[in-house]
């Protein structure tokens, strides 16, 4: 099979765009990614479009109605918070399989404000607050408290994740926020679901990101290898059976399974990774994934955040974009936005937040239900 390369990739600055439609928001990133590699919509042989909020709304086709109706096949993808990464992976797979040699992947979302999860009852009575909480801050708080029961992880350690990621975002002009949040401010913010305060919850924003993927032959023909990013691994996993996972969504086993497969496919280990964009939908979640992705031993995640090893300038910087906590989390766009972030560092184009000398990076998203997608990326050449 051919190798597949990202030749163009970009994202819009995340924000709130109530006056735009979902296809219009997606079209912006699509055009930016095409411009990034100097190609046009006429060069694309297929479109893989990720969106969750209008999953039945033919968003990909409506986006082409904004930027060029070339008649190419369109696949609309929905896979919870792994939606964008899944669309990217489908695009990658079509190139790997030799079906196409130049395709477009787009992730886009327009979010409301407020809590996610815990939908109302269609029959009977509402269960939220009666049988525990199905809200996302509570579900991820419970996952964090499982780590606390095993290893004594503290509220303060969880909060430090948010301090770090908000600091990183001050260096990222495309993040929703560029605001420092000191530890006492994070810990004293409104408690949403202990131990997650408001500043430890990801930001609901609108956004889009897109990538153009080519076969090796096509990328060379087009003279695009100079800034190309090789996709060394693309893995998608669902949740393997765990004893509690039907009442307590298990983000750990799903991530560990995907990580093991991704490292094997890429032929690298956690020590070879120079930066990671992982799914910090809540501060509690990021702590879990240090161990799930193997960048430290089980039980060491608290020390990792205490010692600054995962901060910009540390041993293995995590979420230098600001992460979902501060860059923002437009569900369907997130998976491609973190691929954009890692690609930008591998190209050496990340400005003030550049991870110096970055050669290999990893992206991770997890959607409850559950779906985990991991990509290992490397600068071509």
């Amino acid at each position: 099979m051919t190798d597949a390369y990202i030749v163009g990739v970009d994202m819009i600055k995340f924000g709130r765009f109530p006056d735009k439609t979902v296809p219009q928001i997606g079209a912006q990133a699509a055009l930016m990614a095409l411009d990034d590699c100097g190609l046009t919509i006429q060069d694309m042989q297929a479109l893989y479009c990720g969106n969750l909020g209008q999953a039945s709304g033919m968003v990909g086709q409506r986006m082409l109605q904004e930027i060029g109706q070339t008649g190419i096949p369109v696949v609309n993808v929905a896979n919870a918070c792994a939606t964008g990464a899944t669309a990217f992976r489908e695009a990658w797979a079509s190139v790997k399989a030799g079906l196409y040699d130049c395709v477009l992947a787009v992730g886009v979302e327009q979010m409301g404000k407020g809590l996610l999860g815990g939908a109302g009852a269609k029959v009977g009575i509402p269960k939220e607050g009666l049988l525990g909480s199905g809200t996302m801050p509570a579900v991820f708080a419970e996952a964090g408290m499982e780590h606390a029961r095993k290893y004594g992880t503290t509220f303060e350690q969880f909060a430090k994740v948010s301090v770090k990621n908000h600091h990183h975002s001050t260096l990222n002009p495309k993040a929703m926020y560029q605001i420092e949040t000191p530890l006492d401010e994070v810990m004293n913010a409104e408690m949403i679901s202990y131990p997650n305060t408001k500043l430890m919850c990801s930001v609901n924003v609108d956004g889009s990101a897109a990538a153009v993927i080519c076969s090796e032959k096509k990328a060379k023909e087009l003279g695009l290898m100079n800034r190309a990013i090789k996709v060394r691994a693309s893995v998608l996993a669902s949740d393997p059976w765990q004893e509690r996972d039907l009442v307590m969504p298990d983000v750990n086993s799903c991530t560990r399974k995907a990580a093991a497969e991704a490292y094997e496919m890429a032929g690298v280990g956690p020590d070879d990774i120079n930066l990671i964009e992982l799914h910090d939908c809540f501060a509690t979640a990021e702590i879990l994934h240090y161990e799930n992705l193997g960048i430290c031993k089980d039980g060491e995640a608290g020390r990792l955040i205490d010692d600054g090893e995962v901060a910009l300038g540390g041993r293995i910087p995590v979420n230098v974009s600001g992460g979902l906590l501060s860059k923002g989390h437009p569900l369907g766009a997130t998976g491609i936005a973190n691929i954009y972030e890692v690609s930008t560092h591998l190209r050496g184009e990340a400005g003030g937040r550049q991870v110096e000398g970055a050669k290999i990076g990893l992206t991770h998203v997890i959607g409850l239900g559950s779906a985990c997608a991991i990509h290992v990326l490397e600068k071509a050449g």
Partner: protein, 140 residues
């Protein structure tokens, strides 16, 4: 409208003559237990090996969150809890009769299942519901 309370969830059983109880389904091949009726085991894939079991009313607190922000009309704070029942079945619900404070809640604290009205919630037809809750187990 029913003259007796209805069950808030399908796996809560209310016999005509006897106490309410929680019902699980256990796989005859791999022994995994699940809340509620099913015919195929999602652990091992065995078909038609499931049989109903009455779940124990005691267990231990596995994990929790104290919820301060919920949807409009939902009273806060409350403790959302994951409990391991004594037979190993995991179940989620509200932990009641405890201060909603991390200092008052400890992992593995023994809890018991109690059955009570579903916080006054009624459906569109005006039916009342019976639900289950966890509370710290009475010390012997």
């Amino acid at each position: 409208m029913s003259d007796k309370p209805l069950a808030a969830v399908e796996y809560l059983k209310i016999p005509n003559d006897g106490e309410p109880y929680l019902e699980g389904y256990k796989c005859g091949d791999c022994s995994a237990t699940f809340l509620g009726e099913r015919s195929v085991c999602s652990k091992c894939g065995a078909r038609d090996q499931m049989s109903a079991v009455t779940l124990p009313n005691t267990g231990k607190l596995y994990s929790y969150s104290i919820v301060y922000r919920s949807f409009p009309g939902i009273e806060v704070p409350y403790v959302s809890a994951i409990v391991d029942l004594d037979d190993g079945t995991a179940i989620k619900g509200n932990l009641i009769n405890v201060d909603p404070d991390p200092d008052s809640i400890s992992f593995d604290m023994p809890v018991e299942v109690v059955y009570a009205d579903a916080l006054g919630r009624k459906d569109a037809d005006g039916n009342a519901y019976l639900s289950y809750f966890f509370q710290p187990a009475a010390t012997a």
